[in-house]
Symmetry: C3
Subunit: 134 residues, 3 copies
């Protein structure tokens, strides 16, 4: 089962909690045991899982990515000027995979799944695929 | 087939080789061809695969993560004070997936699978799921 | 279905677009819906997905990895002298997974799949595994 979630990223750099939409796809699939892939087919975005309870955690993740990979750097060659967004996307990665148990995502108590975009605001697609175990 | 491995991380920052336990789960599953997901549901931990023969490789990986993402930074806002652990976890990622062939993990000669924790010591869970190919 | 692709990495640090070979494996598998794992069993290499249209994007990704994780650093201990390659490999990760739809990889318009090597030139293996959905 595959569904495409549409996500608005309201700021230039931001992370959106997509856990409720991913959980809905898992429940609708009726799959009890298996895997759930959360995947973005966009080169300036990424997916990660971290704490969702205190928004300062995600803020600090985005802050450090900006510090490590600054928007402007005299060594960048890409003419569109958004190299930093592409680099941050590949450092974090464009997907995460979550095991399923008893029809739900195995996530820690404070964990959420985030789509981050580094060159927004945009409308982004997140592909959610549920794979059933034999 | 899913098993939860319990791992002790004895230092504040450390990586533990979990390859033997993962290999045991694969063997017990009896699956010959498929995938093995190694997944941590913890926001200050991560999973990676790299050289296990010379422990200095893992030491150098942890050293560089500490250098890139220092424990203290005046820009962090998260009140618990462990933002660096969350950031390093999301940069490396909270899972790895290994293909199976002839009932064993496809790993390079020197490769091992590591759980790293950046805010220990802790008792951590690693979810190992084996998916059989049709 | 599993195939091993052989890839030459002609420079010390370089990224090779392996999308055509991965697409061939998917088509030969005959699988319409499922997942495709692209995996390197080498500790100084990695796999990532980003823009393939303008080669400057990949150039800038490799440039920033070199800047963040320099080849020489007085803190490295690994005797082989290639710690930077191991570290960059683990930061990016040794695999990517791509969902399949209608027998093809779900990739954005400008997206390609790259094998990067940080301690070449080498001959590298990329394991491509196609998993069929029930």
């Amino acid at each position: 089962m595959t569904e495409v979630i549409k996500v608005s990223t309201p700021q230039h750099t931001c992370a959106v909690n997509v856990t409720p939409q991913v959980r809905d796809v898992v429940r609708k699939s009726g799959v009890s045991e298996g895997l759930c892939l959360i995947y973005v087919p966009h080169t300036t975005a990424c997916v990660f899982i971290n704490e969702g309870a205190d928004p300062d955690v995600v803020k600090d993740i985005l802050y450090m990515l900006e510090k490590l990979v600054p928007w402007s750097d005299s060594g960048y060659d890409h003419a569109e000027g958004n190299s930093a967004a592409h680099i941050r996307s590949s450092i974090i990665g464009n997907s995460r995979i979550v095991p399923l148990s008893n029809g739900d995502l195995i996530l820690g108590t404070w964990e959420s799944i985030f789509l981050a975009e580094f060159d927004g605001p945009r409308q982004r697609k997140v592909v959610v695929k549920v794979i059933k175990e034999d």
